[in-house]
C-alpha cells in the first residue's frame, strides 16, 4: 500500500516536472501605459527560456502574469493544455526565485526550504528528508540551521533556489536572480542553475536584462521590447539572424549603415548609402520593405575586416585598437562622425592608429532592416 502511494507520488512528480507552458495573445496595461502587448509564447516541456529586454520593456510584468501575481487584461495562459489564466498563484505550483531572494528572515535556511512543503500539507516526517536532499544538492548541508542574514549572497541565492525546486514545481520562474551577485559568483551560479535544470528536466522561465546571461543559459530567448515580443529564437539564431533592427542592436555589437532601399531580388536587396555608395545585403524573412524606404544595413564587427587601401567601400580613419584578450577590436571613425567596429582574433589587420582604412565584409553577413522600426 505504502509503496504504491510512493510510486503514485513519483508518477505525479514525473508528470508535473517539465510541463509545457503556452502564453496566448497576452496584453496588460497599467493606466495608459502598455506593459505587455499581445505576446504569444510557446515554451516546451523542460525548456530553458529567457525573457530578455531592456529595463522597463515589460519582461518582469510578463513573468508576474505567468506567475499569477498580475492578471492579464486579455489573452490566456495554458499549462500542459490546461487553462491557467484564473488559477491564483498559490495553486499554480510554480517555483519562484525573486530578485532579492525574498528569504523569510525569521526562518533558518532549512525552515525556508521546508515552507512550500508545509504549505502543501506534507507531514513533518516526510519534509525532513526532502529538505535535507535539497540542502545537499545545493551544497548547503552544513548551513541548514543558519538564518538568512548569517549567509553570504551566493548562499542565500542557493537557499532561494532550493526552496523553489524542493516541491517539484511545474515551472520555475526566476526574476533577475543573479543581479545582486558579483561577476565570478554570477558565472558559478549560472552553471549551477543550468545543471539543476538539466538534472530535474524542469521548465524554466528566466528574466534578465543581461544578454550574455540569456545567450549562455537558454535553449531559446524571447527578446521583449516596449511590451512586445521582438523575436523568440535560439541564442545562435538570435545572434546570426536577428529579425529586426532592435534585436540586431540589442543583442551583441553591430555596425549600422543608413541608406535607402533601391532594388530587391528575392532575399537580396541593394541599398544606396547616404554617402552615395551602393551595397548589397539580405532582406529580413517574412517582411517586405517598400522600395525607396529608409533602411539600415547591419554588419557584426567580427564580419568586418579592415583593408589599408581605401577603395569603393565604406572608409574611415582607424582611431583606436583595443586588445581584450581573446580578440582585438579596431575602432574606425567615418567622415560623418559615425563609429564602426571591426573585431578579429588577435592577429587581424596590420593597420596602425591614424591610418585611413576601408571596411570589408561578405554580403551574406549584411542584413537590411527598416530604419527605426520597432518590431
Amino acid at each position: 500500500m505504502r509503496e504504491q502511494q510512493l510510486r503514485l507520488a513519483d508518477d505525479r512528480t514525473a508528470r508535473v516536472a517539465g510541463r509545457e507552458m503556452r502564453v496566448e495573445a497576452v496584453s496588460k496595461k497599467f493606466g495608459q501605459a502598455v506593459a505587455v502587448d499581445d505576446v504569444t509564447l510557446g515554451i516546451s516541456a523542460g525548456e530553458f527560456v529567457s525573457l530578455l529586454g531592456p529595463s522597463g520593456s515589460g519582461k518582469s510584468t510578463l513573468l508576474m502574469i505567468i506567475a499569477g501575481f498580475e492578471q492579464p487584461d486579455s489573452g490566456e495562459l495554458f499549462l500542459g493544455g490546461e487553462r491557467l489564466t484564473d488559477i491564483p498563484p498559490h495553486r499554480r505550483n510554480f517555483g519562484h526565485v525573486f530578485q532579492k531572494y525574498a528569504l523569510f528572515p525569521h526562518m533558518t535556511a532549512a525552515e525556508n526550504i521546508a515552507f512550500p512543503l508545509k504549505m502543501r500539507g506534507i507531514e513533518k516526517a516526510k519534509r525532513g528528508p526532502m529538505v535535507a536532499n535539497a540542502l545537499e544538492r545545493m551544497r548547503l548541508s552544513a548551513l541548514g540551521e543558519r538564518l538568512p542574514h548569517q549567509l553570504s549572497g551566493g548562499q542565500q541565492q542557493r537557499v532561494a533556489l532550493a526552496r523553489a525546486i524542493v516541491f517539484q514545481p511545474a515551472l520555475l520562474l526566476m526574476d533577475e536572480p543573479l543581479g545582486a551577485l558579483d561577476k565570478k559568483l554570477r558565472e558559478e551560479m549560472q552553471i549551477e542553475i543550468k545543471q539543476i535544470q538539466r538534472e530535474l528536466g524542469i521548465t524554466v522561465v528566466f528574466v534578465t536584462h543581461d544578454q550574455d546571461e540569456a545567450l549562455s543559459l537558454s535553449d531559446r530567448v524571447a527578446v521583449i521590447n516596449q511590451g512586445g515580443l521582438s523575436q523568440f529564437a535560439t541564442p545562435r539564431e538570435l545572434y546570426d539572424r536577428p529579425s529586426s533592427r532592435f534585436v540586431a542592436d540589442f543583442v551583441g555589437d553591430n555596425n549600422f549603415f543608413p541608406g535607402q532601399l533601391i532594388a530587391t531580388a528575392g532575399r537580396k536587396g541593394q541599398v544606396k548609402l547616404d554617402g552615395g555608395k551602393v551595397l548589397a545585403g539580405q532582406l529580413p524573412e517574412g517582411k517586405s520593405i517598400a522600395l525607396g524606404a529608409k533602411v539600415e544595413i547591419a554588419v557584426r564587427p567580427e564580419a568586418v575586416s579592415l583593408n589599408s587601401k581605401p577603395d569603393s567601400r565604406v572608409s574611415g580613419t582607424l582611431i583606436d585598437v583595443q586588445f581584450t584578450g581573446g580578440t582585438t577590436t579596431r575602432i574606425v571613425r567615418h567622415a560623418s562622425g559615425a563609429i564602426y567596429l571591426s573585431r578579429a582574433l588577435s592577429a587581424g589587420s596590420h593597420a596602425a592608429q591614424g591610418d585611413a582604412v576601408s571596411l570589408q565584409w561578405d554580403e551574406t553577413s549584411a542584413f537590411i532592416y527598416p530604419a527605426d522600426g520597432r518590431a
Binding site: H90, F104, H106, F115, M119, R120
Partner: protein, 294 residues
C-alpha cells in the same frame, strides 16, 4: 612587548583620539544629563527615600502596605493595564496594517487621524467621555431612542468606563510602533509566500505575524507601562471598585498628607512595573532571530 612595537601598533594615538571623542560626547550630553539628574533623579530619589526614613531607617510604611486594600488595588492596576494593552494592540493592529499597506498619502492621512487626539489634553477627553457615559448621557440617550433598553444604564464609575477611556487615550501608542514595524517588512516576502503556496491567512500566521512580533510587544509594553501610572482617567470616570494605584497614591499624599506612605506605595508600584517590563523585554529578545527582521 617592546616600546617600538607599541608605537608601531598605533594604539596610543588611537586611544588619545578615543578619549577626545568620549570627551566631546560627554560635553554634548552634559546639558541633558544635568537637567535629567537635577530635575528628575534627585527629586525622585528624595521622594522615594521618604518611604524608608521615619526618624531612622524603617520598613514600617511597607508593612502597612501588606493590608488587602493596597494589594488588591495593585493587582487590579496590573490586570487592568494588561487588558488595556491587549485591547489597544488588538484594535491598533488593523489600523497599523492598513497604514502599512496604503500609499504614502493614505498612510499620512491615517497617521494624522491617529495622532490628532494626542494634541487634545487627556483631561478634556476624559470629561468628553463623561458626557457620553453618564446616566443621562449620549450613549444612554442613543440606546433608549433605539429601544434597546427601557431604563438608562450606569456606565460611569465602573471598570468598564475606565478601560474604555484608557483604550481611547492610549491607542496611538500602540499604532505607531506597530506601523513602523509592519512598514519595514519587505513587500516581496508576502508575495514570495503566496508564490510558494500559502493562502492569505497562512501568510499572515507564518510570515507577517512573526516578523511584526517585536512591534506588537513594544506597543503593548508602552501602553501597559503608561497604564500602570494612569491617574486622571481612573479618578474621573472610575469609582471605588475601579480604583488604581496612582489614585490611591494621590489620595494618600493630598488628602491624608502621608507622604511617607505615598512614597512606599510608589516604590512598590515602580518595582512591580520594572519587573513586568523586564519580563516583556526578555520575551522580546528571547528569540534572537527577530533581530534580523527589524
Amino acid at each position: 612587548m617592546t616600546a617600538a612595537s607599541i608605537v608601531s601598533s598605533g594604539r596610543p594615538l588611537r586611544l588619545a583620539l578615543g578619549n577626545r571623542r568620549a570627551l566631546v560626547a560627554l560635553l554634548l550630553l552634559a546639558p541633558a544629563l544635568v537637567l535629567y539628574v537635577a530635575l528628575y533623579f534627585v527629586p525622585l530619589f528624595d521622594f522615594l527615600s521618604l518611604s524608608v526614613v521615619d526618624g531612622g531607617l524603617s520598613t514600617a510604611h511597607f508593612s502597612t502596605l501588606l493590608d488587602m486594600t493596597y494589594l488588591s488595588v495593585l493587582w487590579r492596576t496590573l490586570w487592568m493595564s494588561a487588558l488595556v494593552g491587549a485591547i489597544c494592540t488588538a484594535l491598533g493592529f488593523p489600523v497599523a496594517y492598513l497604514m502599512s499597506r496604503s500609499s504614502a498619502i493614505g498612510a499620512a492621512a491615517i497617521g494624522a487621524c491617529v495622532m490628532v487626539p494626542l494634541w487634545t489634553s487627556v483631561l478634556l477627553r476624559t470629561y468628553a467621555w463623561t458626557v457620553v457615559l453618564q446616566y443621562r448621557g449620549v450613549l444612554n440617550d442613543l440606546l433608549l431612542t433605539l429601544g434597546l433598553i427601557d431604563q438608562p444604564l450606569r456606565f460611569m464609575y465602573s471598570k468598564g468606563a475606565v478601560i474604555t477611556v484608557m483604550v481611547h487615550v492610549l491607542l496611538p501608542y500602540v499604532v505607531l510602533p506597530l506601523y513602523t514595524n509592519l512598514a519595514s517588512i519587505p513587500r516581496e516576502l508576502p508575495t514570495a509566500a503566496r508564490g510558494l503556496g500559502a493562502t492569505g491567512l497562512r501568510i499572515f500566521i507564518h510570515v507577517t505575524l512573526p516578523l511584526c512580533l517585536p512591534g506588537v510587544i513594544a506597543g503593548f509594553t508602552l501602553v501597559f507601562v503608561l497604564s500602570t501610572g494612569f491617574f486622571v482617567v481612573p479618578s474621573l470616570v472610575g469609582g471605588p471598585a475601579s480604583m488604581m494605584v496612582a489614585t490611591l497614591i494621590g489620595r494618600e499624599i493630598s488628602e491624608n498628607l502621608n507622604w511617607a506612605q505615598g512614597a512606599a506605595m510608589s516604590v512598590v508600584l515602580l518595582a512591580t512595573a520594572t519587573v513586568c517590563l523586564a519580563m516583556l523585554s526578555r520575551l522580546r529578545h528571547m528569540d534572537k532571530r527577530q533581530g534580523s527582521a527589524a
